[in-house]
Amino acid sequence: MSRAYRVRQTIRVQDCLTRDVETGDEITTALEFLDILPPAETQALLEQELRAQGYEEVEGQLERREGDIRIRVDPRTAQVTITIQGNETVVVEGVKEERTVLPVTESQRRALRETLRQELQEQLQEQTHAVERKVSAELEAKLGDLTAELDAVVTRVTAEALKQKAAQIGTIREIVEDTEMGTLTIKLDV
C-alpha cells in the first residue's frame, strides 16, 4: 500500500522601510485696525509694539520663534503668518509568511515580498499622516495663546493710536485706562 504525501513549506519574508518625514503647517490672517491714524503711523505703532513683545526684524518682517513655531508679521500689510515645522523618522517593519507546497519558486517569494512591500507602504503613508496630524495639533493647541497675544497687541496699538489722535485734536487733560474692563477714557480740552 502506498500513500501520497504533500510536503508543505513556509516561505517567510521580512522587510523594513524608513522615511524621514519633514512636515509643516501654517495659518495666515490679517490684523484689522480702525482708521484712527494714517496707515503709516499705525504701522509704526504696530512695529513698536511687536518689538516690545520680542519680535525681531527678519527679511523686512518682524519675527518671533517659540520652539518649532515661527510667528511672522508684515507690518505694512498687518499680515500674520504662523508656521510650524516638524520632522521625524518613521520606521515600519513587517514579516509575512505563506505556507506553500514544494518546490518553492523564486516568483512565489517575489510575489510575497511585493505584497509585504505594499502593506508596509500603506503603513508608512498612514504614519506619515499621523506625524503631520501631530504637528498640526501642536499648532492648533498654540492658536488660543497666540490669538490672545495678537488681540492684546491690536488693543494696545489702538489705544496708543487713540491717544495720539486725541493729542492732535486738543490738550489731553486726563487718561483713565481700565485694563480689566478694557476701556480707555481720554478727557481733553479742545
Binding site: T23, I27, T29, E32, E140, L146, V154, T155
Partner: protein, 367 residues
C-alpha cells in the same frame, strides 16, 4: 358638413434618421419625455448626406418655438427692472426690448450638433463634437445649454459632456448655472463672461436670473451632503472663480442688475439668524480630512465661496450710496440699492461675515 380631418394638412414625411433627430431636439426643448429620446442617444445611425426639406422645416419650427418657450419659462415672462444704457426699464423681456432685437439666429453649427448627436453614441465617441466658440450665435449657445440641461443627469453621457474638450465646457451659461458639474476641469478652465455682457447675449442673462438663482440655491443647499474634502475643495474653487469672473465682468459692463441672482440666492440661504457653517461643511467626513490645518481651513473656506463673494457686492452698495443725482451711473446705483434692499443685503452680508470669520481661527479685529 366638412370633415375637419380632411382639412388638416398631411403630416410631413421624414426619414427614420430625421425623425430621430427631431425627437432628440424636442427632448432638449422639454417637449417629449426622456424615455422616448434617451434610447436614441445610445445608438449609432448612419449619417445621411443631407436632410430633406421637410425635416429642415420641422427642425426650424421646433427651434423657433421651443427655444423661445424655454427662455420664457426660465424667466423672460417675469416683470423685472433692468438697465438699458443709463435708463431703467421695467416689464417682461419683450416689453423691455424691441422685438426685432430679440430675434434668435442659429448658425449651421446647431444643425451639425443635432446631426452628430443623432448619428453617434455621444457618450462613447471621441472626440466629442466641436465648434469654434467665436462662430457660435446666442441661439447656438442657448441650444447647447438646453441640451446640457436635459442630459447632465444621464450618467455616462453627462460625464462625457463635462469633459474638457466639449462645447459645453466652453459654454459660459453651463458654467454659470452648473459650476459644480465642471469642478473636475479645474478653476483655470472657467470661461470669461465679457461676451455675455453685450447684446444680444445679455438679454439671456437678464431672463435667466430666476433660473440661476434656483441653480445656486441647489448648489448651496447640497453642499452639506459632500463628504469628501477634496471634492469640496475643487467645487468651491471652481464656484469662487465662476462668481468672481462673472461679478468682475458685470462690474466692467456697468450691469450690477445681472448679479441680482446672487443676492436672491444668498438672501434665501441666509434667511435664518441661527445658520451655522455646518450648513455647508457638516457633511465632511473626519476620516478623509487632510492632516494639515492649512488644507482643512482652505477647504472649509472654499465651501463658502458665495458668502465670500458677498463682500464685493457690499463694496458696490457702499459705492452706490455715494453716487449723487448729477453723477454718472445714478440710475444703475439706485437700481442696485433697490436690489440690495429687497434682498436684505446688509443683514445677509453681516451673517455671511460671521460665518466666514469662523474659519479664521486667528482673526483679530479692533473694536
Amino acid at each position: 358638413m366638412l370633415n375637419p380631418e380632411s382639412e388638416s394638412p398631411a403630416p410631413k414625411q421624414v426619414s427614420r434618421f430625421e425623425a430621430n433627430l427631431i425627437r432628440i431636439l424636442r427632448f432638449f426643448l422639454q417637449q417629449v419625455p426622456s424615455e422616448t429620446a434617451l434610447p436614441l442617444l445610445v445608438q449609432k445611425y448612419p449619417e445621411p448626406p443631407c436632410l430633406s426639406a421637410n425635416a429642415i422645416a420641422l427642425i426650424k419650427d421646433s427651434l423657433a418655438k421651443g427655444c423661445v418657450l424655454e427662455l420664457v419659462h426660465a424667466g423672460a415672462w417675469r416683470q423685472t427692472r433692468h438697465l438699458r444704457g443709463e435708463k431703467v426699464v421695467t416689464g417682461r423681456l419683450w416689453q423691455r426690448t424691441p422685438v426685432p432685437e430679440l430675434a434668435l439666429h442659429f448658425s449651421s453649427h446647431s444643425m451639425r450638433f443635432l446631426i452628430w448627436m443623432t448619428a453617434n453614441q455621444a457618450a462613447e465617441t471621441k472626440p466629442f463634437w466641436q465648434a469654434p466658440s467665436n462662430e457660435l450665435t446666442v441661439g447656438d449657445e442657448w441650444l447647447l445649454f438646453l441640451a446640457y440641461t436635459a442630459l447632465r443627469q444621464v450618467q455616462d453621457l453627462g460625464a462625457a459632456m463635462r469633459g474638457p474638450d466639449t462645447p459645453f465646457s466652453r459654454n459660459a451659461l453651463c458654467w454659470l448655472a452648473y459650476p459644480d458639474d465642471f469642478s473636475g476641469n479645474g478653476p483655470e478652465a472657467v470661461p470669461g463672461f465679457d461676451r455675455w455682457m453685450k447684446a444680444p447675449h445679455v438679454l439671456w442673462l437678464e431672463s435667466l436670473q430666476p433660473l440661476l438663482m434656483q441653480c445656486w440655491l441647489t448648489i448651496e443647499r447640497s453642499k452639506g451632503q459632500i463628504g469628501v474634502w477634496q471634492q469640496m475643495l475643487h467645487q468651491g474653487q471652481v464656484e469662487d472663480r465662476v462668481l468672481s469672473r462673472y461679478i468682475e465682468a458685470a462690474e466692467r459692463a456697468g450691469r450690477p442688475d445681472l448679479v441680482r441672482f446672487v443676492l436672491m440666492a444668498a438672501s434665501q440661504v441666509l434667511a435664518s439668524e441661527e445658520i451655522e457653517p455646518t450648513f455647508w461643511t457638516g457633511g465632511l467626513q473626519g476620516s478623509s480630512a487632510p492632516p494639515r490645518l492649512a488644507d482643512r481651513l482652505e477647504t472649509q473656506r472654499s465651501a463658502l465661496s458665495m458668502l465670500r463673494n458677498l463682500n464685493r457686492l457690499h463694496d458696490w452698495e457702499r459705492r452706490a450710496q455715494l453716487i449723487g443725482f448729477m453723477d454718472e451711473g445714478y440710475q444703475a446705483a439706485k437700481l442696485w440699492l433697490a436690489d440690495w434692499e429687497a434682498s436684505n443685503g446688509t443683514l445677509i452680508h453681516r451673517r455671511a461675515q460671521r460665518i466666514v470669520a469662523q474659519f479664521d481661527p486667528l482673526r483679530v479685529t479692533a473694536t
